[in-house]
C-alpha cells in the first residue's frame, strides 16, 4: 500500500480526467440556471444577487478543474473588467435616471413621465434592468475575487 501511495504522489499534477469531464458537462447548465434565476427573480426565490453568484460559481468551477489560465479562455480579464463596470453602471445609471425624470433613486414608476407605459409594466421592467446590472456586477466580482485569492495575486495558476 505504501508503494502505491508513493507512486501516486510522484505523479502529482497529472491531468485529472474525471473531474474535468464532469465539470465540462455541468458548467453550461449551471450558467443557464444562473440566468434563469436572474430573469425569474419576481416569481421565485432569487434575483440579481443569487443569479450572479451562480454564474460566478460556474466560472469558479471551471477554474478549479482546469486552472485559472485555461478558464480565462472563457472569461478573459478584460471581459471580466467590462462585466463588472457595465453591471454597476446599469444599476447606478438606471437609479439616477429615475431620479432625473422626477422620482426618487430607483423609483421605477417615475419613468412613466418620459416613456408612457402602465405603471406595473414599468415596475416589472425596472426591476428586471436593475437585476441584470446587479447580476453582472456580482458575477464579475466573485470571479475576480476567486482569481486573486486562489493564486495569491498572480492570476496565473489558481488552486
Amino acid at each position: 500500500m505504501r508503494r502505491f501511495r508513493e507512486q501516486v504522489q510522484n505523479t502529482e499534477g497529472g491531468t485529472d480526467l474525471i473531474i474535468r469531464t464532469s465539470v465540462r458537462l455541468m458548467v453550461p447548465f449551471i450558467q443557464l440556471f444562473g440566468l434563469y434565476v436572474i430573469v425569474h427573480g419576481h416569481y421565485s426565490p432569487g434575483g440579481g444577487f443569487q443569479g450572479g453568484v451562480l454564474l460566478g460559481s460556474a466560472f469558479i468551477l471551471l477554474a478549479l478543474a482546469y486552472g485559472v489560465e485555461y478558464s480565462k479562455k472563457y472569461m478573459s480579464e478584460f471581459a471580466n473588467f467590462l462585466t463588472v463596470n457595465i453591471g454597476v453602471f446599469i444599476f447606478v445609471g438606471f437609479g439616477i435616471l429615475c431620479a432625473l425624470v422626477g422620482g426618487f433613486f430607483l423609483d421605477y414608476g417615475a419613468m412613466a413621465n418620459v416613456f408612457p407605459m402602465p405603471l406595473p409594466e414599468w415596475r416589472y421592467w425596472g426591476v428586471f434592468v436593475v437585476e441584470v446590472g446587479v447580476g453582472m456586477g456580482v458575477m464579475g466580482i466573485m470571479v475576480s475575487l476567486y482569481w486573486d485569492l486562489a493564486s495569491a495575486g498572480s492570476r496565473k495558476e489558481g488552486l
Partner: protein, 106 residues
C-alpha cells in the same frame, strides 16, 4: 401511488441511515468514503424520485415541469457525488492520510 411513494421514501431513508452509520463506524478515512459516496448517491436518487412521483399525482403541465426539475437534481447528484468522492480520495492519498490495515498483514 402513495404506497409506492412511501416505500421508496422509506428505502431512501434507510440508505441515508446506512451511509451515516457507515461514516460513523468505519475505521479509517478511505472506508468511510465508500459508505458516504455510494449510499448517499443512491438514497438521494431514491428519495428524489419518490418526491417527483408524489408531485405527479395531479397531472398538470406545471407539476410535470416541477417533477422534471426534481429529476434534474437527481441527475446532477448522480454526476457530482462520485466526482467529489474521487477528488477526496485522491487528495487524501496525496496528502498522506494513514489507511487502516488488517492485523496480521504486512
Amino acid at each position: 401511488m402513495s404506497v409506492v411513494v412511501t416505500i421508496m421514501l422509506a428505502a431512501g431513508l434507510f440508505f441515508f441511515a446506512v451511509g451515516t452509520l457507515g461514516v460513523l463506524r468505519f475505521p479509517d478515512f478511505y472506508t468511510r468514503l465508500h459508505a458516504a459516496g455510494k449510499c448517499d448517491t443512491f438514497a438521494a436518487i431514491l428519495t428524489l424520485a419518490a418526491l417527483a412521483l408524489f408531485n405527479l399525482q395531479e397531472f398538470t403541465v406545471e407539476n410535470l415541469l416541477v417533477s422534471l426539475k426534481i429529476m434534474s437534481i437527481a441527475a446532477f447528484v448522480f454526476i457530482a457525488s462520485p466526482t467529489a468522492t474521487h477528488a477526496l480520495t485522491e487528495a487524501a492519498l496525496i496528502v498522506g492520510v494513514e489507511p487502516w490495515e488488517k492485523k496480521g498483514k504486512s
